[in-house]
Amino acid sequence: MEHYNVANPYFGVFVLFVLTFGAFYATTVIARLASRALAAKDTEKIKLTVYECGPEVTKQPNRISTQFYLFALLFLLFDVEIVFMFPWAIDFKLLGWFGFAEMMMFILLLAIGFVYAWKKGALEWHNIK
């Protein structure tokens, strides 16, 4: 039996890559199947109404406040920035003063963005200016 060398440093990355895609695919498929099996199959009222000057307004049972979207956006923004800081922190000594100056610039720009979001009240619930 052939022996394969799996000590390549990128092998782990490859496995992770495949797993990520696999996990993503599996999640979507499971979500689809589960929702198809579990969802209540009411015939929608709106489907059966007469179309007269636009459909009759029905109340959405599961309204989601737009605030969640804003929070998700801000979270995504500042969370993704952290991704850049991990490799920087690991190679901190390697990068020297150049890396330090670059990261300080980056953090400064981020800080301005953060203060902006804060002052504009984006971090307060139900208080968007």
Partner: protein
């Protein structure tokens, strides 16, 4: 153990970033001022934007002097590339922006100018365009393009009418598609050459004699689609009239000038080496694209009933006309491109500003769009000066001597003839003649018809001193272009020739 990296700060040549940094600092300072004290009047932000743009222009002129003395300036691991065409196009971008930003000081109140973010986004957009032209790194071009485009979509949507939202969403979806195409094209170029820098890609491809010609053509198909969207070449032009109609007239004028010069410069960098490489396909595709863009958009412009849509189609036609310079690809034609666009930016911004001063909030009964031809009917009797100005811009756009665009057209057609594209030159001249019809149609409406009651109250409704000043500057630029053409040509030729295009 790896050695620590020592990057000497001097080798980075941080100065190459100066023009963009000035724009970015301007944007940030507008945001910070708003945070410190909100509710300030828009004129303050206009002045701050103008101040930083002036600094930006100063830095660029300084770079121009350094370029002429020492040649191309590289910086930041060769990502930044300050050559002649980068400096020239940045000057056009900054001057165009300086002419645009005072248009915010209207006499009527508009929703978008109440937000300081409008001006901050505007400055970020300029920085994006500057990054886009001052590099030959495909990734950096992409970042610049996206920075600028995303800011521009928001600026359109801030106009706060249902048509503006429609325009912004249309532009966004089309722009996203174009960005995707651009990414695909660069991916293929990287795959076959192993480099993201355009001049290295050119060298590598020339060395192996275009062995992967299939892939090159595939990537060029994507690239032509991407730049077709940005430059509104004809099969990809469908967004243009709708977007121009939905955005404010001032922003529409801006969109017809500044994003396009940035895209032209990138197209020049990218297509120039391929046009000369003897890859016949690309030349044929560009040839067809140029001819169809000029002719088809001219014919569509003939049947428009709205002046703004007519100007939108006319700007597509002008873009096609200028795209011919990239197809011809000689130093003379590339010089012609910059000359044409410098003159065009004055004239076209003037024309769109004339629409901006006639902006009305509500349509009157029987009016189908914002700026129908009828609105300008008999304008010479109610507003003689305004009618003369509008007529001047129309004559210049039509290419009537001695106004601005005549010289641009003449120089471009001349460069086509002198490099053997006689048929193309003939088509270009014929198209200028067709275009004359719809520009003169507006003049006929303004000078030979009777005023229509109801519209006259809107003439100059939105005008203020700063708007009139911009119209005056545009008019001066259009009329006295005849004196500026020769010195301008000398400078442009020097810059274009020394950067090897």
């Amino acid at each position: 153990m790896l050695e620590p990296i020592h990057v000497a700060l001097g080798s980075l040549n941080i100065a190459t970033l100066a023009p963009m940094l000035i724009a970015i600092v301007g944007a940030l300072s507008i945001l910070i001022i708003d945070l410190a004290k909100g509710g300030l009047h828009k004129s303050l932000y206009v002045m701050i934007a103008l101040l930083f743009l002036l600094l930006d222009l100063g830095a660029l002129v300084d770079f121009g002097g350094v370029f002429l003395k020492n040649g191309t300036i590289l910086g930041f691991f060769d990502v930044m590339l300050m050559d002649g065409i980068a400096i020239l196009s940045q000057i056009i971008i900054v001057v165009g922006s300086m002419l645009f930003i005072p248009l915010a000081l209207t006499s009527k109140r508009f929703h978008e100018y109440d937000y300081p973010e409008y001006f901050a986004l505007f400055m970020f957009m300029i920085a994006g365009f500057q990054f886009m032209v001052a590099t030959d790194n495909l990734i950096m071009i992409f970042i610049g393009l996206e920075t600028a485009s995303l800011a521009l979509y928001t600026l359109i949507a801030l106009h706060n009418r249902s048509k503006s939202f429609e325009a912004a969403v249309k532009y966004f979806t089309m722009g996203a598609l174009a960005a995707g195409f651009y990414a695909f094209g660069s991916m293929i170029l990287y795959a076959i050459s192993g480099s993201v820098e355009i001049n290295q890609i050119a060298t590598i491809m020339a060395e192996d004699h275009y062995r992967n010609i299939g892939y090159v053509l595939l990537s060029m198909a994507f690239m032509i689609a991407a730049f077709g969207f940005k430059l509104s070449m004809v099969p990809f032009h469908t967004w243009t009239p709708d977007v121009y109609e939905g955005s404010s007239a001032a922003l529409a004028g801006y969109m017809s000038i500044v994003p396009k010069i940035a895209a032209f410069v990138v197209a020049m960098r990218l297509f120039e080496f391929l046009v000369h490489s003897g890859v016949a396909w690309l030349q044929v595709i560009l040839y067809i694209g140029v001819v169809v863009t000029m002719t088809a958009s001219n014919i569509w412009a003939l049947v428009q009933s709205d002046v703004k849509r007519m100007l939108a189609y006319s700007s597509i036609s002008h873009a096609g006309f200028v795209m011919a310079a990239i197809l011809i690809g000689t130093t003379q034609s590339n010089t012609g491109l910059f000359l044409y666009w410098a003159l065009f930016s004055f004239t076209n911004l003037g024309a769109f500003t004339m629409l901006w001063v006639n902006r009305q909030k509500n349509l009157i009964a029987g009016q189908s769009s914002d700026h129908p031809y009828e609105k300008f009917s008999g304008m010479v009797k109610t507003m003689p000066m305004a009618a003369v100005m509008m007529g001047l811009f129309m004559l210049s756009l039509a290419g009537i001597p001695p106004f601005g665009l005549f010289w641009g057209k003449m120089y471009l057609i001349g460069s086509a003839v002198s490099s053997g594209y006689t048929v193309l030159a003939l088509i270009m001249a014929l198209n200028s003649a067709i275009a004359g019809y719809y520009y003169l149609k507006l003049i006929v409406f303004m000078f030979m018809k009777e005023p229509i009651v109801g519209y006259d109250q809107y003439y100059f409704m939105n005008a203020s001193l700063s708007l009139k000043t911009i119209i005056g500057i545009a008019a001066v630029g259009t009329i006295f272009a005849v004196f500026a053409v020769n010195p301008l040509l000398k400078v442009i030729t020097l810059f274009v020739y020394n950067s090897g295009y």
